[in-house]
Symmetry: C2
């Protein structure tokens, strides 16, 4: 039987992407919780370039970078498709997943970690970026269509973590007025039984994120 190990952190949206994909495909795996302040020699051996979680190890071979791993999982195991088969639809999924990681996440982190005018500017940028997603999800249940796909899985951060973090940090970004379609997706996503079962419990996640993000709240 194939041996699958995942080096991750339970509270990380990036780790959770991989867990969600493995569960979607019905793949059994061993989860190895990493301490990011004291990374294991195995993690450093398997991901010497970035030294980051998540790392998937399948039959002894490591794969790093969550979007790369998601595609690997889709190509390796049967089960519900993560990426569409049609090349143009696949390209669109790749485009939006890349957009999430390379544009939205850095802008969100900047908005959280900055203060004053810089924070306002970063917040405006996040609002502009999420506007593109609001438009993209219009008229669709999930980014993947009727079922969750690559962009929904990669979007767990904006679907679940973002709401918690912005509240802790004291900034308001996602509102019904601004993003009606995106809010409907967040609702659909968080109430989808598969997603619900596989996201970390809200209380536990808030307790984990609180000391890390509440200090960034400048509105108090």
């Amino acid at each position: 039987m194939a041996e699958v190990k995942l080096f991750g952190v339970w509270a990380s949206a990036f780790s959770k992407r991989i867990e969600m994909a493995l569960k979607l495909k019905g793949v059994e795996y061993e989860f190895i919780e990493e301490d990011l302040k004291n990374k294991s020699p195995l993690l450093l051996k398997y991901n010497p370039v970035h030294k980051k979680i998540p790392v998937l190890v399948h039959n002894g071979k490591p794969i790093a970078e969550s979007l790369v791993i998601l595609e690997y999982i889709d190509e390796t195991w049967e089960g519900p498709a993560i990426l569409p088969k049609d090349p143009h639809e696949r390209a669109q999924a790749h485009f939006w997943a890349k957009f999430l990681d390379e544009k939205c996440l850095p802008a969100i982190l900047k908005a959280c970690k900055s203060t004053g005018e810089e924070r306002e500017k970063a917040k405006e940028e996040v609002i502009e970026l999420l506007g593109f997603l609001d438009n993209e999800i219009k008229g669709k249940k999930f980014f993947g269509g009727d079922n969750i796909g690559l962009v929904d899985i990669a979007g767990n951060f904006i679907g679940y973590w973002l709401g918690i973090i912005t509240k802790l940090v004291g900034i308001e970004i996602v509102t019904e007025e601004r993003f009606p379609n995106f809010c409907r997706w967040i609702n659909e996503y968080n109430n989808c039984s598969f997603v619900k079962e596989n996201l970390p419990p809200k209380d536990k996640l808030i307790a984990f994120l609180k000391p890390r993000f509440e200090v960034l709240n400048t509105s108090k």
Copy 2:
């Protein structure tokens, strides 16, 4: 017949990636040269998110982001493979292409655009990053194996542009002593007849890059 249009800039390594892939597959296309100081309404329509070249338009449908386009081309047209078929090898190709764009290119630009101590620090980072590539290419003709693949095509910037730009800027990064394997690849790459035919002529490229990069030379 399929209609293929490419919005690009002749001197851009990102545009050239797409031209190389289309030529590898034997796909006929119309090249539309963009003026980046005065982008065409069509480019802005086709890539409203990033407003950047390259954009490939196939049968009226646009695809943006060069790595996304390269994968689309590989999946859409017959001919020499750009990505390996084996999922683990594919994942490795994805990993290194992502590494080039997300780690190497920003570090190289930082080393070029900064001065003094900041430049030295950025240069050290580039050297560290290229060390990973030097190790990766050890014992192989191309990153793609015996033939050029995704990483070689995406690597055109470090294979061709980097040498010109660092010379103009007045920094020394790639040396035989530091990177024997990487230098061998650069040599192999630039002398591969397919690559040679499809890169912009050196004189013309230097003339184009000179006013943009020579001003950043602080060693004079």
